[in-house]
């Protein structure tokens, strides 16, 4: 008996659907009937999905295209016409977009089908997927732990096997950190390479749609479908995206930066062990280690929380109870705004709106917002200088493995510092890739992060693939079926 379709890669699924061996609807429902029946009630990765919508979508889809028959999960802040888009918030309860996000349109045109919308921290503000109006998502490797955030639902759905591909958004690490906690790949592309049209904005100069998959080759496949300029997004980079077809071509001769000062303090031993192992694998595969020094990560976190909250306070002004979502009626329009926003937004969103409003308010603009934007320039320069000496950087994705639910909910600063290694890429607009490197002694996934200069996605995927096959493993006969460690129930 052949392996169930949900266990395979997206690339393998395309072969089976295109050849007529498997119908798109069967490919989609395999994940729902199989792993979701076991995991979804406890993990709670998905917030909007129904069988009839899925049936209609696959019935009208032609079994052709680079993603023919591949089911995908979308974070609940990507607009779709067939499911609600609520950003994990009460304020958008019941909102149905009149249009598809550009990324969603490209996925449909490539033949993929939507398996559902994933849970997330409200308006993508959080690092644990505990700040959702639908309740938290849990990590399938340990149900007492968080899946990371804010795209925790997307990461968990890929990890437990509902779908081979999912999409999230990454404003300060919200794809890469949950990918690390759930043991899957997570790509934040170069800013502007994926259209933000139809992605509900949080911090517009930082937000980027990102990709989750269990295999490096599947990340490359998805990227080649959705990346590229979009006239509907004035911040997208015009023209074609970099060619990632060489994702399997190895790392011989590539130089990787090793900024060890960043994790000398405050990183769990498991995280450091994963890094050391990954560096050794890369060297065995022919890459060259280049020691580097970097600014402490706290600087980036400080700049990020001023820039991101300032932009969020502006972007979220549109949620006022007038045009969509929740309305709490009042006698005058000012009270309607205040009541709607106060009841519609959760505490973390309100906290960030207040911080952003403060940073932009008269008398504080120069001291906070402008200073943060200058710090951002400094951080970008530092990356520029590093990438003269190396092709990519190897560093942790997060200082810890998945932490326990509730552990950081009441400590905003501790939660913000979960993103200490990921934020720099958003401030600089460069691409980052989380690569799973097996399970640690704790039974939880270990991961590393690769960062490269703008448009270095091909390089990052080559390195991510080299780590997937760990240099020595035979690659051709197991091109898409690698040593992915599926969660087991405990």
């Amino acid at each position: 008996m052949s392996e169930p379709s949900w266990r395979g890669s997206a690339a393998r699924l395309v072969e089976r659907v295109t050849s007529g061996e498997l119908a798109a609807e069967a490919a989609l429902e395999a994940g729902w009937d199989g792993p979701a029946a076991q995991w979804e009630p406890e993990v709670h990765a998905i917030v909007h999905a129904d069988r009839e919508t899925r049936r209609l979508a696959t019935a009208s889809a032609r079994p052709v295209g680079p993603l023919a028959g591949v089911p995908v999960v979308l974070k609940d802040n990507l607009c779709t016409t067939d499911y609600d888009t609520t950003c994990g918030s009460r304020i958008l309860a019941g909102y149905r977009s009149p249009y598809d996000a550009t990324v969603v349109r490209r996925l449909r045109e490539a033949g993929s089908s939507l398996a559902g919308k994933a849970n997330m921290d409200e308006f993508a503000m959080g690092s644990s997927t505990e700040f959702s109006a639908y309740g938290p998502t849990r990590n399938p490797y340990d149900l007492s732990r968080v899946p990371g955030g804010s795209s925790g639902g997307s990461a968990a759905a890929v990890a437990y096997g509902l779908v081979p591909l999912a999409f999230g958004s990454d404003t300060g690490g919200s794809v890469r950190q949950p990918a690390a906690f759930c043991g899957v790949y997570g790509l934040k592309p170069t800013y502007g390479r994926l259209s933000r049209y139809g992605l509900v904005a949080f911090g517009s100069s930082l937000d980027q749609v990102g990709i989750f998959a269990r295999h490096a080759g599947d990340v490359a496949l998805a990227y080649s479908v959705v990346a590229g300029g979009d006239p509907y997004d004035a911040t997208s980079r015009p023209g074609p995206a970099p060619d990632v077809s060489g994702w399997d071509s190895g790392v011989s001769g590539l130089r990787f930066g090793w900024p060890a000062n960043l994790w000398k303090q405050g990183c769990e031993p498991e995280v450091v062990a994963g890094l050391e192992e990954a560096a050794a694998w890369l060297e065995r595969a022919g890459a060259i280690r280049v020691p580097l020094e970097f600014l402490p990560g706290e600087v980036g976190v400080a700049a990020y929380y001023l820039v991101a909250t300032a932009e969020a306070s502006s972007n979220l002004a549109r949620f006022d109870g007038v045009r969509y979502g929740l309305r709490v009626d009042a006698d005058d329009i000012g009270a309607l705004y205040r009541r709607t926003r106060s009841r519609g937004f959760g505490p973390e969103v309100q906290r960030r709106i207040l911080l952003g409003t403060y940073a932009l308010s008269a008398g504080y603009y120069d001291a906070f917002y402008l200073k943060a934007q200058r710090a951002r320039t400094r951080i970008r320069r530092e990356f520029d200088e590093a990438f003269v000496r190396c092709d990519f950087l190897l560093l942790p994705t997060a200082p810890t493995q998945a932490f326990r639910l509730g552990e950081k909910v009441d400590d905003p600063l501790a939660m913000y510092l979960s993103d200490i290694f990921t934020i720099g890429a958003n401030l600089a607009g460069i691409p980052g890739l989380t690569v799973p490197v097996g399970l640690g002694g704790t039974g939880l996934p270990r991961a590393v992060q690769l960062l490269g200069p703008a448009d270095a996605e091909p390089t990052l995927l080559r390195a991510g693939r080299a780590l997937e096959v760990r240099g020595e493993r035979a690659r051709l006969e197991r091109r898409h079926e690698t040593e992915f460690a599926w969660p087991t129930k405990r």
């Binding site: 149905r96 009149p98 249009y99 800013y191 502007g192 100069s205 509907y232 004035a234 911040t235 997208s236 980079r237 015009p238 023209g239 600014l295 706290e298 600087v299 976190v301 400080a302 929380y305 001023l306 306070s313 006022d320 007038v322 045009r323 969509y324 929740l326 309305r327 009626d329 009042a330 005058d332 329009i333 705004y337 205040r338 009541r339 926003r341 106060s342 937004f345 309100q350 906290r351 709106i353 207040l354 911080l355 409003t357 403060y358 308010s361 906070f368 200073k371 943060a372 934007q373 200058r374 710090a375 951002r376 320039t377 400094r378 970008r380 320069r381 905003p412 600063l413 401030l427 607009g429």
Partner: protein, 100 residues
């Protein structure tokens, strides 16, 4: 740097948020902690660093003409509104009638 309770109330008004009295206390404490943390930036040498701007190379303005593919008729534009009538959003009075 600390932030006062009065400032939090003022910011809440600017942000169109109603924060209950006990929430103001908590927000004052939390925002003070976050602001103390962002003071990390004061230790950074920013000489010669202009504020970042973020327009991808080659990005430009499109022609200022209606895009037929993206136009919504009024009924679709107001379809998700909590209250609407004849393609208009319904809200409480915004301008008071001073001469009833």
């Amino acid at each position: 740097m600390s932030i006062t309770r009065t400032e939090v109330e003022r910011i809440a008004e600017l942000a169109r948020l109603e924060i209950p009295a006990e929430g103001i206390e908590r927000m004052t404490t939390e925002l003070t902690a976050v602001l103390a943390f962002v003071a990390t930036l004061d230790r950074l040498d920013l000489s010669g660093c202009e504020p970042s701007t973020f327009a991808p190379a080659g990005a430009g303005l499109r022609a200022d003409v209606p895009d037929a593919d993206r136009q919504l008729d009024p009924s679709r534009a107001t379809a998700a509104a909590p209250a609407s009538e004849n393609g208009f959003f319904l809200v409480p009075p915004i301008v008071e009638n001073v001469n009833p």
